[in-house]
């Protein structure tokens, strides 16, 4: 479980996050939604330690990340897997080497064990027979899947996904969503997904956090989202006529 308590972050004169308090539960896909510029990515970067918050705490199963020394932070970081919006695969490494990279750095395994583990992770995301290819030779969807394989290589306790569906076709997008959900439930990870994809939110939302103007504006699950009367949330999620129709249809079923 990850707890964020009173987290604030400012860049120069711009107050990006104000007093965010949220709990991200274990074994469920926690989604963070909000307009562009609402502070979603900054929140994720504060949680994983790429930005230092001006105020507030981030607790990883009770461990206050920003108050730990470098060695203790590294221990937590090795428990984190992250899927980036751009996949962030290393261009100079093959698919297999990309997935093996965290194992090489930290796992203390033999070469054969590393290859076995990396191949297992690649099979888990349905990438088979592509070991020797370089990231540039893969499609966007495949790159995302290799990114997920790398993120789960070390059996992470915490999984972060920054816009996992961006730039993907609807079918691949659904596959990636399902994969993240399966991995979260199978390994009991605390998963945080930053997303713009409202289909994904309405389809799979278990614990949704809506950020608006850098504040935690609303939290709940998909049922609560459909029924919510919160003006800003409804304006954001049901911006299109299609989504409004879908809402009416789904509310009838709920």
């Amino acid at each position: 479980m990850i707890e964020v308590i009173g987290l604030s972050k400012r860049f120069g004169n711009a107050q990006v996050l104000t007093d965010i308090t949220a709990t991200f539960a274990k074994g469920v896909v926690n989604q963070v939604i909000g307009k562009s510029g609402s502070g979603k990515s900054v929140l994720a970067k504060c949680i994983v330690g790429l930005h230092r918050p001006d105020a507030g705490r981030v607790l990883y199963d009770g461990r206050p990340f920003h108050e730990l020394d470098l060695g203790e932070k590294r221990v937590i970081r090795q428990e984190i897997g992250m899927l980036f919006q751009s996949s962030a695969l290393f261009d100079s490494m093959t698919v297999l080497d990309n997935v093996m990279f965290p194992l090489r750095m930290f796992a203390g395994m033999t070469a054969a064990e590393m290859v076995k583990r990396a191949r297992f992770c690649l099979e888990r995301v349905n990438i088979v027979g592509k070991d020797a290819l370089y990231p540039a030779e893969l499609s966007g969807g495949m790159q995302k899947r290799v990114g997920i394989a790398r993120a789960i290589a070390m059996n992470p306790k915490y999984l972060f996904c920054d816009e996992p569906n961006s730039g993907l076709d609807p079918q691949t997008s659904i596959l990636i969503d399902e994969l993240i959900k399966e991995i979260t439930e199978e390994y009991g990870t605390t998963t945080i997904v930053i997303t713009h994809d409202m289909n994904s939110v309405i389809e799979t939302g278990q614990n949704i956090l809506f950020l608006h103007t850098g504040r935690c504006w609303w939290t709940g699950d998909r049922k609560a989202l459909l029924a919510s009367e919160n003006e800003e949330l409804r304006a954001f999620v049901f911006a299109s006529e299609l989504m409004r129709q879908a809402r009416r249809g789904l509310l009838g079923q709920v």
Binding site: G49, L50, I80, Q85
Partner: protein, 246 residues
């Protein structure tokens, strides 16, 4: 103030580069890869430049020394001193600042904008050390060899032009090469080379590592890296000359 900010951030960056590596055993292989990338792949341009540089220095010296009371072997002596003291260590390092420096800044800058450095940081890898330290060590190891090869080829270029054009007799040229030789000049040149190798790699990597934005900014970082490393090389050249030769 801006320059002070960069100097402060550069030294902070260096403290990360020389910070404790996670798996030092992996660094050996990375250093060898970088030696190939930064050193061996620069050999062609270094060789080409050096041969022509030596030839031109010889012709220019010969054409400017036409007084009867100056012995002809002075051409060889001047060519040797120019090549060893200045042309090979400094000019070749400036050329490498352009080739290798822009390559490092572009590579590291692209990794930054494509979030690959963030990925390393989140994994708990000291990204500055993992990415940059092998480049710094590789350049400091291989550049002295490049410069020694450059010295040899420049002097050979001078001899070739003397043999082909007769601007100075080859025997006079060789006599000049051997006349009043002080081995410390080579030591001085190699000390400069090692310092310049550090400057080229670390300054270029600093600019690449702190790139923000996209492709345009990567290009800007690459250009800035070459400009800054060239300026630092010139300043360091002056300081080292003052320290070691005076």
């Amino acid at each position: 103030m801006n320059i002070l900010y960069h100097i402060g951030r550069y030294f902070e960056f260096l403290s990360h580069v020389f910070g404790r590596p996670e798996r030092s055993s992996l660094y050996g292989r990375r250093v060898l890869e970088e030696i190939d990338q930064l050193g061996v792949k620069s050999l062609g341009i270094v060789a080409l430049l050096s041969v022509f540089m030596g030839a031109v220095i010889t012709i220019q010296t010969a054409s400017n020394i036409d007084a009867a009371w100056i012995p002809r072997y002075v051409v060889g002596f001047t060519a040797r001193q120019s090549v060893i003291l200045e042309f090979s260590p400094t000019i070749i390092s400036l050329i490498l600042a352009g080739k290798v420096g822009s390559n490092i800044a572009a590579e590291v800058g692209t990794m930054r904008v494509k979030e690959q450095i963030d990925a390393l940081d989140i994994m708990g890898v000291n990204s500055a050390s993992y990415l940059i330290l092998p480049k710094v060590i590789a350049a400091m190891l291989i550049n002295p060899f490049l410069i020694v090869i450059s010295m040899f080829l420049s002097i050979f270029g001078g001899w070739t032009v003397s043999a082909l054009t007769g601007v100075v007799a080859p025997n006079d040229y060789i006599q000049g090469l051997q006349w009043d030789f002080d081995p410390f000049t080579v030591t001085y040149a190699l000390i400069k080379t090692v310092v310049f190798a550090f400057v080229i790699t670390s300054v270029a990597a600093y600019h690449g590592y702190h790139t923000k934005g996209g492709a345009l900014e990567v290009g800007r970082s690459s250009t800035t890296a070459v400009v800054f490393s060239s300026v630092v090389i010139l300043i360091a050249n002056y300081l080292l000359t003052q320290l070691l030769l005076i």
